[in-house]
């Protein structure tokens, strides 16, 4: 998958990106990824966007290869809780990635409810933050504090 959003923008990504953005293994949606990439770039990040339907192994390999300061997992198809839980276990099992900041957000379940148990299980499994569908402002603030951001 392209490291920038098609040719939509000339993302300055041939150097090491500061953020790795990825969909989950079963999720085909991409407008979320296109929009989140722009949001991150506007606050000075360089973004590698892995696109939709990313197998867990490809996320791991990309993290090991690119060593991003922040990994953003986005899912809206309703399987995000299940897929996200599996993914973080695989990522945290690699000692090299134990300290990488990893967050997840979107529409993570099929019933539209923000479920406290779900958030607790995701953070217990290793996510640093779980963002709700509407929490873009909080995400912007969070991502702006993450180190390795190009000062623009």
């Amino acid at each position: 998958m392209n490291s920038s959003v098609g040719s939509m923008n000339s993302s300055r990504v041939d150097a090491a990106p500061s953020v790795l953005l990825t969909g989950t293994s079963s999720d085909a949606h991409t407008w979320n990824l296109v929009h989140l990439q722009l949001v991150l770039e506007e606050i000075g990040h360089t973004v590698a966007n892995l696109g939709p339907c990313v197998p867990d192994e490809l996320v791991v390999e990309s993290c090991l290869g690119l060593r991003p300061a922040l990994v953003v997992v986005s899912s809206v198809n309703g399987h995000g809780f299940n897929d996200g839980l599996r993914l973080i276990r695989v990522l945290r099992a690699r000692p090299e990635l134990a300290g990488t900041t990893v967050v997840i957000g979107g529409k993570l379940v099929t019933d539209g409810l923000r479920n406290v148990g779900m958030v607790r299980r995701l953070t217990a499994a290793g996510y640093d933050r779980v963002f709700d569908d509407g929490e873009l402002p909080a995400f912007r603030t969070f991502a702006a504090r993450t180190p390795d951001r190009a000062v623009s």
Binding site: S7, M8, S26, A28, V54, V109, T110
Partner: protein, 416 residues
């Protein structure tokens, strides 16, 4: 046409002047799925049933589907390859019949496992296409999708008997759901319909998803009808409208008004079938009750609308662009699948904002001041060059404003 066939059922309803309304509905649990089909059948409208499949089945991760069923993880659709065939047969038993055809809707670029499973259950109507189920649905290479859809079409066509006429609907009228100019949607629907016909299907439907301008939508439907007539003679073909496929209004009123507008578009433009969206669209997987409400709302709006006299399509902006796209692609190769591959490789077909590696990504679209969806940058498309915004990056806020335009209008009480 045989009595049991999906295409035949829809054509007969259309001939009687009734719009067939259909949900997008799928649940992981067979009992709930059966109940959903039953209540679709009994909704008090002319309906056909739907099995919308879950995302694990779509990407052929059947191990994940199995684990989810075993652990009771809620799925976003029906796992047709995972529940034992006798469970699925019991789910359909006495519900799926000649008077209530059922279609399988999925979103799989490589659908052979799904087509085999549905045929095995006695079903024979499904949806998709080598482009429309590939570019918007993940990272499968387009060449693999073309090969897989050739096989899938052959499997369906081979299932034809004296009493069974398999049906395939192109999803070409959707392409990422939003911000794809109508001429591209119309062209892809026609090209996929032709692909199906060349691979043995005799009953197809061509789709178009409601966009940002009611006038432009009518124009697009007229173009679709005209091009279907030119390129698919002798094939049983009907047109299907999708209620808006982009970011949906968040309010119940807004969502239902947008659905009513889609029903009016379907009737006015002479479509035979409408796929509805529900008031839950913006928030979660719709319940059975959400779907029944949507089917009734759409059917009522349809009954209150009269078809327009079919205007001439030729000469309209949408028709002219779509005709050039279709003819250019068909001129590339005698085999439609090869022609599609060449067209995407050369950027002669190119979907705005599509991340797929086999999409050139040189085109951009915008919503014009008159509400029409137009090309901001035609990239390498065989259309008159425009490059309104090529020099400038779209900001995240501008993108979101375009994506949420329809939601805003209807949430605020428009268009009626």
């Amino acid at each position: 046409m045989t009595p049991a066939s999906f295409g035949g059922f829809v054509s007969r309803a259309h001939a009687r002047g009734a719009l067939v309304v259909q949900p997008r509905m799928g649940f992981g649990d067979p009992r709930q799925m059966r109940e959903g089909l039953r209540r679709t059948r009994d909704a008090g409208a002319v309906t056909v049933g739907t099995l919308t499949l879950d995302s694990y089945t779509r990407v052929n991760d059947l191990a994940a589907a199995r684990r989810a069923v075993r652990d009771g993880v809620p799925l976003n659709g029906y796992p047709i390859c995972t529940h034992p065939a006798e469970v699925s047969r019991a789910m359909l038993d006495g519900v799926h019949e000649a008077a209530f055809p059922v279609q399988v809707r999925h979103g799989s670029a490589r659908p052979e496992h799904i087509v085999s499973a549905l045929l095995d259950l006695g079903l024979d109507a499904t949806e998709g296409g080598p482009v429309s189920y590939c570019l918007p649905y993940g990272r499968t290479r387009l060449s693999d999708a073309v090969a897989a859809w050739r096989t899938a079409c052959a499997l369906l066509a081979e299932a034809r008997t004296d009493t069974r006429e398999p049906h395939l609907e192109s999803f070409g009228g959707c392409m990422l759901g939003q911000l794809c100019p109508p001429s591209m949607l119309v062209a892809l629907s026609v090209l996929e319909g032709l692909f199906f016909a060349r691979h043995g299907l005799r009953s197809v439907s061509l789709s178009y998803a409601q966009q940002t301008s009611p006038e432009q939508d009518l124009e697009a439907m007229a173009a679709l009808r005209a091009l279907a007539g030119e390129f698919l003679p002798g094939i049983d073909t009907h047109l299907v409208v999708y209620a808006y496929m982009g970011v949906f209004p968040a309010t119940r009123g807004g969502a239902l008004r947008l659905l009513e507008e889609a029903a009016r578009l379907a009737v006015a433009s002479g479509a035979a079938r409408l796929i509805v969206k529900t008031a839950a669209e913006a928030h979660r997987i719709p319940t059975i009750a959400d779907n029944v409400e949507a089917l009734r709302t759409a059917a009522r709006a349809a009954e209150a609308t009269t078809p327009r006299a079919a205007g001439a399509a030729a000469g309209s902006e949408v028709y002219e662009e779509a005709a050039v796209l279709v003819r250019t692609v068909l001129g590339l190769h005698d085999d439609v699948g090869e022609a599609l591959l060449l067209a995407f490789r050369r950027g002669l077909l190119d979907i705005p904002y599509c991340l797929h590696p086999d999409n050139a990504g040189r085109t951009r679209s915008f919503i014009d001041t008159d509400g029409r969806l137009r090309w901001a940058d035609t990239g390498l498309l065989p259309l008159p060059r425009t490059a309104l915004t090529a020099a400038r990056r779209v900001t995240s806020d501008e993108l979101l404003t375009a994506l949420t335009r329809v939601r805003r209008i209807y949430d605020q009480g428009g268009i009626r």
